[in-house]
């Protein structure tokens, strides 16, 4: 049996997202509460900046002697410019407002006030678990589209289709003032002007099939979440992804460009919360082996991004273009005959 990577492109499934604070804090919602994507569900104080002051050196005394010259105790609040220590005409002032956090080795440490951090719900749904001081679990039903590459944070807006077909690139002139506050759906790629125009009109997110490599650093600097459904390059958006997104054109959606490739993988995604009395039966469970009839996507050139159905699981290794002998499957990509693709270059679309 063969087990492959999986990507979700599901019209209606149960969606469960853990929302965790970066530091211990306070949860602001209750179990069972309905929440909106922009609602703050928990908050925490993140430690601020700090300064190390070499007091003994500045006063001209040995490390062990500074206690007698201190004007402020450990734990006291200090104002910017306030005298912390004094020896005759020599004074040491606090370079910023904060708290005198510690003293030792002839120096003191002033910590700036902590910065408040607000954790938003991200998706519309119901709080199904409260993790004390840490965060919440929110669940909903809806459509899920997982990307493979992304940048930027999380956002929320109305989906807006801007290209006619998944093989068309997104152009700057496609983005007009009506796109303000929306998540725009492109096709095979985009260019620098698109990013600039999207920023100018405060677009909430961009979904594209491929992202040209020359734009990576610009997209990483941009505050707008960007999700590439296929990868890096000019690549048409796979038909199932384009269809699902455009079917939901005009609906509100959450978008996340966050990505982590190892040790707690995080995939970029678009979630469209949809009310449902019951969920349709799933055709196959996540994590189950590849079988004939399963919908797969090729993840390497020359078929990168093409979606098809497994026709045959080939028993013995075969030669591919590079002359390597590998195990694979014959996949119906809509061409005259099925294409042999290495198993490791396929992923299952669930």
């Amino acid at each position: 049996m063969n087990y492959l990577c999986e990507t979700q492109v599901a019209p209606l499934v149960n969606v469960r997202r853990e929302r965790i604070l970066p530091a211990s804090g306070e949860v602001l919602v209750r179990l069972g509460e309905r929440v909106d994507p922009t609602q703050v569900v928990a908050q925490a104080n993140i430690p601020g900046d700090f300064r190390v002051l070499p007091v003994a050196h500045l006063l001209g005394v040995s490390d062990s002697k500074i206690k007698g010259y201190m004007r402020v105790n450990v734990g006291d609040e200090v104002r910017r410019g306030q005298i912390i220590a004094k020896r005759g005409s020599r004074v040491v002032k606090s370079p910023m407002a904060g708290v005198l956090a510690s003293r030792g080795g002839g120096r003191v440490l002033v910590e700036a006030p902590p910065m408040p951090f607000e954790l938003r719900a991200y998706i519309q749904g119901t709080v199904t678990n409260v993790l004390q001081n840490r965060g919440v679990v929110i669940e909903t039903t809806g459509a899920v589209v997982q990307g493979v590459w992304g940048a930027g944070g999380e956002s929320f807006g109305v989906l807006k289709k801007l290209v006619k077909s998944p093989d068309r690139p997104l152009r700057a002139r496609d983005i007009d003032p009506s796109c303000h506050g929306s998540i725009v759906i492109g096709g095979s790629g985009l260019n620098k002007a698109v990013i600039e125009r999207a920023q100018e009109l405060q677009v909430r997110g961009i979904v594209t099939g491929g992202l040209p490599p020359e734009l990576i650093s610009q997209v990483r600097r941009s505050p707008i979440p960007v999700v590439a459904t296929e990868g890096i390059g000019t690549i048409s958006m796979s038909e199932p992804f384009f269809q699902l997104l455009t079917t939901n054109d005009g609906r509100e959606a959450s978008i996340s460009g966050q990505v982590k490739s190892r040790w707690g993988i995080v995939r970029p995604e678009i979630i469209i919360a949809l009310p449902a009395e019951s969920l349709p039966p799933t055709q196959s469970q996540p994590g189950t082996p590849l079988t004939v009839g399963v919908r797969v996507r090729a993840v390497r050139a020359p078929y990168l991004g093409q979606v098809g159905t497994v026709v045959t699981l080939v028993e013995h290794p075969r030669h591919i273009e590079t002359d390597a002998r590998v195990r694979g499957a014959e996949v119906d990509l809509g061409q005259a005959s099925p294409i042999f693709i290495p198993l490791v270059n396929l992923e299952i679309l669930r």
Partner: protein, 584 residues
């Protein structure tokens, strides 16, 4: 676990970052032999979120071949009585690395030694704090650097024995201060590996702020380096805190009668064992290129040296390499024009699907270029820490190595064996006569782990063809003009047949010598150029019995160090020619 004397069948598991490998050894005809192997995706992430699923998936492949089932329907390991395996041992490289901040006085001395100590385990150096040169930071910068890095361990070196005190204690104080700013439960540990006479003072400075461990000074004198103790401490941190972090590791630990072993550590054991079998005046080298790490294990004079470069593998680290070293680092090995954007796109897409393989030649050449640079980058870290003794005939070149073990999917599964040989020759640039050995079934690290349970199994499996000979390589050292004849070679097969060739400087010659075949190789450097072929010095020739391999017998007369053409077009011609020479 069965008693050692009654162990017949052994399952060897290796949980890699991307792939999990399972190997079955069994006693056949009274000797341990490799029986079968399975490989599946590592399953530490959704939808499986349990590393043992990947082990079962890989074991299913062995079951298909052998008819033996190793797990029951609930997923538990079957014992030998239930027709499973007598014992299971496991190596792991899938876990997150130990995150380390290094501190010390001199960047090129104590800090470099600490860096090599950290490279002896799966680690990631998040920041380096050196007191000298441009790395000299203010105290506030030091504290801030450590605080932002949130490491697992702060490793502070510095101070020769009886050497400087104050600067070392200043760094220690900064570390203590940075730790005092962190929540108590999230504080790193401090490993002090500097001037041993300062241990008491260091303990006083850090008291109440951070848990202190000490190890031998990694740089006791200007010329001496002592990494073993520090490496053991760091390796211990990794095993205790990081290796078991993945979900399912507790079950895997329960299945194995011996502690889980870091893959690279087990690989190093096998390399050390092989050194004992060979010519003790020369070294043995092992190279393993994985998805996320590249490992070089060496043994010289009986001493093991292990270097792991984290985040520099075939799937992860390519983008950073491109940013740090520029596109030419990779394009210089690629036999056709390729743009930086194309390279960047391919590297990132590979990271998104790390198990995927190139289907087109362009992507294959890029992947193989990355392999060369991963090995070269790791070698740069490793070499200054080696003590090769008499094997080091030229200070600027690789020491003489008898055997070079080649491991890792990207190296052993190349379309043609010559490509593997060429990657290794380009990256390591061995000298003299060496045998390249292919770890075709991924046994090198597995056997290092089984040695703890059943040493005989490791020995007999190696003896019974666990490895495959790739090539015998002759790499002459000297200077000549391209096209000059530098070496006369006569090969005599065991049936008495043979031939002679003249080797010109700048070329690669591949002579037919099949796996299992042996021959007498006579090497005669020309008097004019007096090249050193590793048979006693410049100009000295001689005869050697050599073994055949998948890529034959290779004479690499391109010179050492290898010089690439300066112009991109010429380099592409060069790369095409060399590729052609080794069989495409």
């Amino acid at each position: 676990m069965a008693r050692e004397s009654s162990i017949d069948s052994i399952l060897l598991v290796d949980c890699g970052t991307v792939m999990t490998k399972v190997v079955l050894l069994d006693r056949v005809g009274g000797r341990y032999r490799f029986v079968a192997r399975g490989e599946a995706l590592t399953t530490s992430e959704y939808p499986w979120s349990d590393v043992t699923s990947g082990i079962r998936h890989a074991a299913e492949q062995i079951a298909q071949v052998t008819g033996r089932v190793f797990f029951d329907t609930a997923g538990d390991l079957l014992s030998a009585e239930q027709r499973g395996a007598d014992v299971l041992t496991a190596t792991v490289s899938a876990s997150p690395p130990l995150e380390v901040v290094l501190g010390g006085l001199v960047r090129d001395l104590s800090v470099a030694s600490a860096e090599r100590a950290a490279a002896g385990t799966y680690s990631r150096v998040k920041a380096i704090i050196a007191s000298d040169g441009s790395g000299g930071l203010t105290e506030e910068e030091r504290v801030s650097t450590i605080h932002k890095a949130t490491p697992d361990v702060i490793c502070i070196a510095g101070g020769l024995e009886n050497g400087a005190e104050r600067p070392v204690l200043e760094i220690v104080a900064s570390a203590a201060l940075a730790c005092s700013l962190m929540d108590e439960g999230a504080r790193p540990r401090l490993l002090y590996v500097g001037n041993s006479q300062l241990r008491q003072k260091v303990a006083e400075v850090v008291k109440g702020h951070v848990e202190l461990r000490v190890a031998d000074n990694v740089r006791p004198t200007l010329t001496e380096e002592n990494l073993l103790n520090a490496q053991e401490e760091l390796d211990g941190f990794y095993r205790q805190n990081k290796m078991v972090q993945l979900s399912g590791m507790d079950a895997l630990e329960a299945w194995s009668p011996t502690p889980l072993t870091p893959t690279a550590r087990a690989f190093s054991r096998t390399v050390q064992y092989l050194w004992h079998l060979g010519d003790s005046s020369r070294g043995v080298l092992g190279v393993d290129v994985g998805a996320a790490h590249t490992t070089i294990a060496a043994a010289f004079d009986g001493h093991p040296f292990l270097t792991i470069r984290g985040n520099l593998g075939i799937a992860f680290g390519g983008e950073r390499l491109l940013q740090e070293q520029g596109v030419e680092t990779l394009t210089r090995w690629i036999p056709e024009p390729v743009t930086e954007d194309e390279i960047l796109g391919t590297l990132i897409n590979k990271e998104l699907y790390p198990a995927s393989i190139p289907q087109e030649s362009r992507e294959l050449w890029l992947e193989q270029a990355l392999v060369r640079e991963a090995i070269r980058g790791t070698l740069e870290v490793a070499r200054p820490g080696w003590k090769p003794g008499v094997a080091q005939t030229y200070p600027h070149l690789l020491p003489l190595c008898d055997t070079i073990i080649i491991s890792g999917g990207v190296l052993v599964n190349t379309p043609r064996p010559g490509q593997t040989a060429l990657m290794v020759l380009d990256a390591l640039q061995p000298i003299g006569v060496s045998t390249l050995v292919l770890d075709k079934y991924g046994l090198a690290s597995a056997l290092g782990s089984v040695a703890a349970v059943k040493p005989l199994a490791a020995v007999e499996t190696l003896d019974s063809g666990g490895f495959v000979n790739l090539a015998t390589v002759v790499s002459p050292v000297g200077r000549a003009r391209p096209g000059d004849t530098i070496l006369r070679v006569k090969m005599t097969y065991d049936d008495g047949s043979g031939f002679s060739v003249e080797v010109q400087y700048g070329n690669i010659e591949v002579l037919p010598l099949l796996p299992g075949q042996q021959a007498i190789l006579e090497l005669r450097p020309t008097k004019r150029h007096r090249f050193d072929v590793g048979l006693g010095g410049p100009g000295k020739g001689g005869k050697r019995r050599v073994n055949g391999g998948l890529a034959g017998l290779i004479i690499d007369a391109r010179g050492r160090p290898l010089r690439l053409a300066s112009e991109p077009e010429e380099r592409q011609v060069q790369a095409r020619q060399w590729l052609w020479d080794v069989g495409g």
